[in-house]
Amino acid sequence: MARYVANRLAQAIMLLVIVSAIGFAILHLAPGGPLSQFAASAQMTQEDLDRVTRQLGLDRSLPIQYLDWFGRMLRGDWGRSYRDGEAVLAVISSHLGATLELMATATIIAVLLGCWIGVLGALRRYSLFDSLATVGAMIALSIPTFWFGLVTIYVFSVKLGWLPAGNRQTVGDGSLLDLLHHLIAPALVLALVETAMWGRFMRSSMLEVINQDYIRTARAKGMPEWRILTVHALRNALLPMITVAGLQFPTLLGGALVAETVFTWPGMGRLFLDSIGYRDYPVVMGILMFSAIMVLIGSLLADILYAVVDPRIRVG
């Protein structure tokens, strides 16, 4: 087990280095590179630019710059926002809570609903329910999230007036009920794609399990059907879902960005778009790297957790 974890950890660190190199390359792809913001202002003369270049250490060779940048990233110094001079990590962490709240709620909805749909679809394979679920999942995966958000706002906010059209809370009202009221629409919109994915994966995982020998054995022993399903089938069918959760993480994060835009949700995605609008590259790059690292850690945790619950993985 220790060897597996160490192996997987080494892989993750190597990936982190490549990820950071890609991030660094993107930063330098910008027209004018990291200097573009200064170059755009009219008061800067060429001498000023040269001075800033030296101050920021941009006259050094690229590998040295990269090592310096990477070292500072590891120490938590991610630069400062062009907009208000705040540290990038502080700006990100102040918006992280709202995004995590949205993602967690959507995941809970998606896991419960998706697993239920998937299990039922597998048990009644090719039934009307199964066919409808399969077609429904395909359509859900094809609907642009932002458009589904717009339709939700139109139906439930504009026409019915049941839900607020955006934001995390009503100004001056910070009660839990108010927060939940604002959370419903964006969480459901974000959960749509996730539910479809979980349903599909759960269905195939369940189908694989219920055709195994030990299920037949349990049935032959005369075990009641509900017990076979819950104790033997469901427990084993849920195991691969840990991997699905890890794989789904980038999609979930991307979906959160889109949902936040439509519902003016004050999270990381919203911050990302605002920062792009302001050409606030340190924050843009910070969020890009931060989300990639979150994905990296997510898949690492999923792999380790899977190895903990399923001993077959450690050996292979």
Binding site: L15, M138, I139, L150, P250, G254, F272, I276, I293
Partner: protein
């Protein structure tokens, strides 16, 4: 007689695949809708009396089915149907072109990584893994913010964030096909590595490649709509299915039809390609060809 019998025998796998595909009614419907969308966006604009960028300030916000404007007009009095057709033309083109670029890059990277394996393969595939760590939309927006938006840049960016899955599929295929007799035979005949890769191995992996290509078009159309909706893709006055929704949120209360038509068009196009890809997977799955 013998020749005829032989040729039917040779056609059999293709015929079997076609028969399986025909059974997949949703995939057939998807193919039909795609055909209609292509024809509609290619020839539709010539059948309408309105130009997609013609501004008629006197006829702003005309609701659908009012007078000559079948789908109504937008905030500048432009005909929504005309914009929808031109927008679909742009979005479908981006979908296809981005798919071709992503397939070319993905197949090349996957073939090299799968064929050579070792350090080359490991480096290339770790690059793929690292690229996949970035949530697609974040990567796409960050790159789009750095360069001038337009048709070419939007297409290239979408391809740049979509080739990794293709590379994974092709790498796995090539790695397993490399050991098969026909590949070893080609090597024994003195074929060059490049020739074995792209004339022997890749054509034998055509089934998953075709499926990946179809699903890639769906993904590219979806990504274009996200990018243009957020204002970093196709720029007005040119229409795309995504940027038509750009202002729709502001007018959601007064003119909901501005949001409904383009969104439905995107969903229809993406769903069709996804169903087509699903049907092709069932039809071409090599595992099902083994009797």
């Amino acid at each position: 007689m013998t020749t005829a019998a032989l040729s039917t025998n040779q056609l059999a796998p293709g015929q079997a695949a076609w028969r399986r595909f025909r059974r997949h009614r949703l995939a057939l419907a998807g193919a039909l809708i795609i055909l209609l969308l292509i024809l509609g966006s290619a020839f539709g604009p010539y059948l309408l009396p309105f130009d997609d960028t013609y501004i008629d300030i006197m006829k702003r916000f005309a609701p659908p089915l009012s007078g000559a404007h079948i789908l109504g007009t937008d905030e500048l009095g432009r005909d929504v149907l005309a914009r929808l057709m031109m927008g679909a033309r742009v979005s479908l083109s981006i979908g296809f072109v981005a798919m071709v670029i992503a397939m070319a890059v993905g197949i090349a990277v996957g073939a090299f990584a799968g064929f050579y394996g070792g350090v080359v393969g490991a480096v290339l595939m770790r690059l793929v893994d690292a690229m996949l760590c970035f949530p697609t939309i974040f990567l796409l927006l960050a790159l789009a913010a750095l360069i001038e938006p337009g048709f070419v840049t939007t297409t290239v960016l979408i391809a740049a964030t979509a080739w990794m899955w293709v590379a994974r599929v092709v790498e796995a295929q090539v790695r397993s096909l490399r050991e098969r007799e026909f590949a070893v035979a080609a090597l024994a005949f003195g074929s060059s590595n490049l020739r074995i890769m792209f004339r022997e191995l890749v054509p034998n992996a055509i089934a998953p490649i075709v499926v990946a290509a179809t699903l890639n078009v769906a993904k590219a159309i979806l990504l274009e709509s996200y990018l243009s909706y957020l204002g970093y893709g196709i720029q007005p006055p040119a229409a795309s299915l995504g940027n038509m929704l750009n202002n729709a949120q502001i007018y959601l209360t007064s003119a909901p039809w501005l949001a409904i038509a383009p969104g439905l068009a995107i969903t229809l196009a993406v769903t069709s390609f996804n169903f087509l890809g699903d049907g092709l997977r069932d039809a071409l799955d090599p595992r099902m060809n083994i009797p």
